[in-house]
């Protein structure tokens, strides 16, 4: 075979490939349109059935039939969309009606799939249609290696937060980034009865390397019963734990909290001091005025800024303190006070967020 012949065949192959690619492009358009034309009317029927069922005009069978008429992915999508609007007993009745249908059995079986997108589809479905019998499946999905699957199934905890399942979440906290942690906290906030005792127990494990994340998570939960165990960690030797304690306590206005935060205002780590003054600002106790004023002269810029911002939240007394510092002898305090006093209320609220 000469080079020229080879090139000729390559050119032919390329021509063929171009024709195939264009054919795929056109076929893709046609198939999509066909699918849309087929699915859209069925979706409308389903939406009408769900509306009727929500009003009590029809039974759940009609909704189940509507879901079965859709392709599986569209049915799951429709359920996710409606689950936001319809909750409680009525939705649970639908989940039970769906439990033994062949397509939902197949979806539940997909939690063992080797492909993550099948597991994700199962997780999405179970997040809104799990029943009491699904605890084992939920546990498996909470431990799934793919993060999207774990995030999807988290919503199921709103209904089925058992100590075992919540412990799986808490075990994973050190590896979770802020947004995912916030998502779990939002989901578990309605499950205090299960979550708070488990968190209290973990807050007592002072040598646990994952303690900072536990404290952070406890802060997000905002349950008054967690205040005391969080406060007890204010003298922890790990600065990161103290940072999280100082931050979390801002959500727990209490005389004891204020005392602890005042101590943390003089912590050796500036990150702790910055969080402590921020939290004092959030609590807004006039008795802390002197502590905040003294932090205006802190060695660290961020602590000074946070202290000045905190003072703006103490009303006229805080403003007077800033005005005094603006003309005072301490240059750092003078500068930061001038900065903050120059901000509009709008900008202040932005900064204080």
């Amino acid at each position: 075979v000469t080079a020229e012949t080879l090139l000729f065949f390559v050119a032919l192959l390329q021509g063929g490939s171009i024709v195939v690619l264009i054919a795929v492009l056109l076929a893709n358009r046609w198939l999509r349109r066909r699918r849309r034309d087929r699915v859209a009317p069925r979706r409308m029927v389903l939406d009408e059935a769900i509306k009727g069922w929500a009003l009590g005009d029809v039974g759940p069978e009609l909704v189940v039939r509507g879901l079965e008429a859709l392709p599986r992915s569209d049915a799951v999508e429709a359920m996710l969309a409606w689950s936001v609007r319809l909750t409680g007993e009525r939705w649970r009745a639908l989940a039970e009606a769906l439990e033994l249908r062949p397509w939902t059995t197949r979806l539940r079986g997909a939690v063992r799939s080797r492909t993550w997108w099948r597991r994700l589809e199962a997780a999405r479905f179970l997040s809104v249609a799990a029943t009491g019998a699904d605890a084992g499946v939920i546990e498996r999905l909470l431990k799934d290696p793919h993060p999207a699957v774990r995030i999807a199934i988290a919503v199921a905890l709103e209904q089925f937060a058992t100590p075992r399942l919540v412990n799986i979440v808490l075990d994973r906290l050190p590896d979770m980034v802020g947004p995912v942690q916030a998502h779990y906290a939002a989901v578990l906030r309605g499950q205090h009865a299960v979550t708070v005792p488990l968190l209290t127990e973990r807050l007592g494990l002072v040598y646990d390397p994952g303690l900072p994340r536990i404290v952070e998570f406890s802060g997000r939960m905002g349950d008054a019963r967690l205040r005391e165990p969080i406060t007890a960690l204010a003298t922890h030797r790990d600065a990161e734990v103290r940072v999280q304690v100082a931050r979390a306590l801002g959500d727990y206005p209490h005389a004891r909290t204020v005392t602890v935060l005042r101590t943390l205002c003089t912590d050796s780590a500036w990150e702790v001091r910055a969080q402590a003054v921020r939290s004092l600002g959030r609590i807004g106790d006039a008795a802390t005025l002197a502590d905040l004023r003294s932090r205006l002269a802190d060695a660290e810029w961020w602590v000074r800024l946070r202290a000045a911002l905190a003072l703006t939240r103490l009303g006229a007394a805080g403003r007077d303190a800033l005005l005094l510092a603006e003309t005072g002898a301490q240059p750092d305090a003078r500068y930061v006070s001038r900065l903050i006093l120059g901000l509009s209320p709008q900008a202040l609220s932005e900064f204080a967020a």
Partner: protein, 471 residues
């Protein structure tokens, strides 16, 4: 002479085969990647994360130099994004036009004192402004120091842990931020993430939003639609799989601020600060053996106005290629070093030999083939067949990019747009490609002369009189 010409031709063929095989590899790798990404893109959990306020807060940095034509529309679009926690920092980089005046009029600005330490050194700041109507907005008016300098000034003023650099001539889709933060929300160890930049020319734009994407009917911007699709939808997706994404578009790239500060921010002496910062980020993370990834997510979209004249296009492409040459040269110590893993062993060789030297090889190929034909050393039919195969390959890559767009996202819904895309994919190889080769070739000369100019970009603005379109 005969031996030389044949030898050179053989070398060009080998180069051609290697390069195109690598492109084919990227193309194949892009398939599972786009499949996974489009599945995640449809994920309703993103919306749920938004509802509970979980997505991380972001500072959007908008450097603006002589952007009076587009500044109001683009900042308005950014200020109305579908995202809960973000601030917008616009930096007027000593514009000589009315950019600052437009900002003052549009957003009712008032001066405020500086409330942050200058971590990265920048050109002097003239003043800082907040808006009475848009509390999220902060405007920095500073002396001219270039785009990198503006970004550094904005990083100094930013409050949030993630920063995104957005060009002032870019229109961001409302849900783009939510989509762009998906890798962070999934808990991946991300150092930076880039989204897709698409061509806005020709699309219907209303209130700073692309409401109906269209393929520009004019030849030059139309061809760039195909070019951008190809570059983003299989080039960068393929690199995701290879673990070495080296380009995060400066027009739309999200970074962890702590990493940016650790590497000293953007370099003001680079003409392609986005490429430079990503290479330095790779080097920093790999030197310290820190776990990280720099990834590309295709579904968040930003729309940009591309050059409509050859002169402006030439300046842009010359600068891009000059930046590539200078960056490759500057960080040449990373080349083929196992310490730098896939970046050193795969990314650098590809960008040096496959991208940087490509115009040189192509021009040499044209020249030697013409000479060979002239002197009768090369068979005419062979030369024509080779040219046909080379052009055919380019066409396949372009159509593949269009196919990925159709399968994954399908923004261009009109049949006419699809036809246009296919026509441009075919026409791109006749004239346009040779022009870009010439522009890139000129970059070698300017790189040797160490020019640091950017070249002027002429913008028509996103709302051309009365029509609401860019063309």
């Amino acid at each position: 002479v005969n031996a030389f010409i044949h030898g050179f031709d053989a070398a060009v063929v080998v180069y051609f085969v290697f390069l195109n095989s690598f492109y084919a590899l990227l193309l194949i790798l892009a398939l599972p990647e786009i499949w996974e990404q489009s599945l995640l893109a449809e994920d309703e959990d993103l919306v749920r994360l938004q509802e509970v306020g979980a997505p991380p807060p972001i500072s959007i940095l908008v450097p603006a130099y002589n952007e009076s034509a587009t500044i109001k529309a683009s900042v308005t679009a950014i200020l109305t994004l579908d995202y809960r926690h973000y601030e917008v920092i616009v930096v007027n980089d000593g514009s000589s036009d009315d950019t600052m005046g437009r900002l003052e009029d549009a957003f009712d600005l008032y001066e405020i004192p500086s409330t942050y330490p200058e971590t990265l050194s920048t050109s002097p700041i003239r003043a800082l402004y907040r808006s009475r109507t848009r509390p999220r907005l902060l405007v920095i008016d500073k002396e001219n120091g270039g785009k990198a300098d503006s970004l550094n000034a904005a990083i100094n003023a930013s409050r949030w842990p993630l920063v995104i650099a957005v060009d002032a001539d870019t229109l961001i889709e409302p849900d783009a931020m939510l989509r762009l933060t998906r890798p962070f929300s999934l808990g991946l160890r991300i150092a930076a993430v880039g989204g897709t930049v698409r061509v806005a020319n020709g699309s219907v734009i209303k209130d700073g939003r692309v409401v109906e994407p269209r393929v520009a009917p004019r030849f030059l911007p139309g061809i760039q639609v195909v070019e951008y699709l190809r570059s983003f939808l299989y080039g960068r997706l393929g690199w995701n799989r290879l673990g070495g994404n080296m380009i995060i578009s400066g027009a739309f790239g999200l970074f962890r601020k702590d990493h940016l500060l650790e590497i000293g921010g953007y370099r003001t002496d680079s003409v392609v600060e986005d490429f430079d910062v990503v290479v330095r980020l790779h080097r920093y993370m790999l030197d310290r053996r820190l776990p990280y990834s720099i990834t590309f997510v295709p579904d968040p979209v930003a729309w940009t106005e591309v050059p409509e004249t050859l002169a402006v296009l030439g300046r842009q492409r010359e600068r891009w290629h000059r930046g590539l040459i200078l960056t490759m040269w500057k960080y040449r110590h990373m080349m083929l070093r196992p310490r730098y893993k896939r970046i050193g062993l795969l990314g650098f060789p590809f960008f040096t030999f496959g991208e940087m030297l490509a115009p040189l090889v192509e021009v040499m190929g044209y020249l030697v083939t013409v000479l060979g034909l002239w002197w009768g050393f090369i068979n005419v039919s062979f030369a024509l067949l080779f040219l046909l195969v080379a052009l055919g390959y380019g066409m396949i890559l372009s159509i593949w990019g269009i196919l990925l767009e159709e399968v994954g996202f399908r923004r261009y819904r009109r049949a006419g747009d699809l036809v246009r895309l296919l026509c441009y994919a075919a026409l791109e190889n006749f004239g346009y490609r040779q022009c870009t080769v010439w522009f890139r070739l000129k970059a070698f000369w300017s790189a040797i002369r160490a020019r640091k100019t950017w070249g002027r970009m002429t913008r028509t603005g996103f709302a051309a009189a009365g029509t609401g379109t860019t063309s």
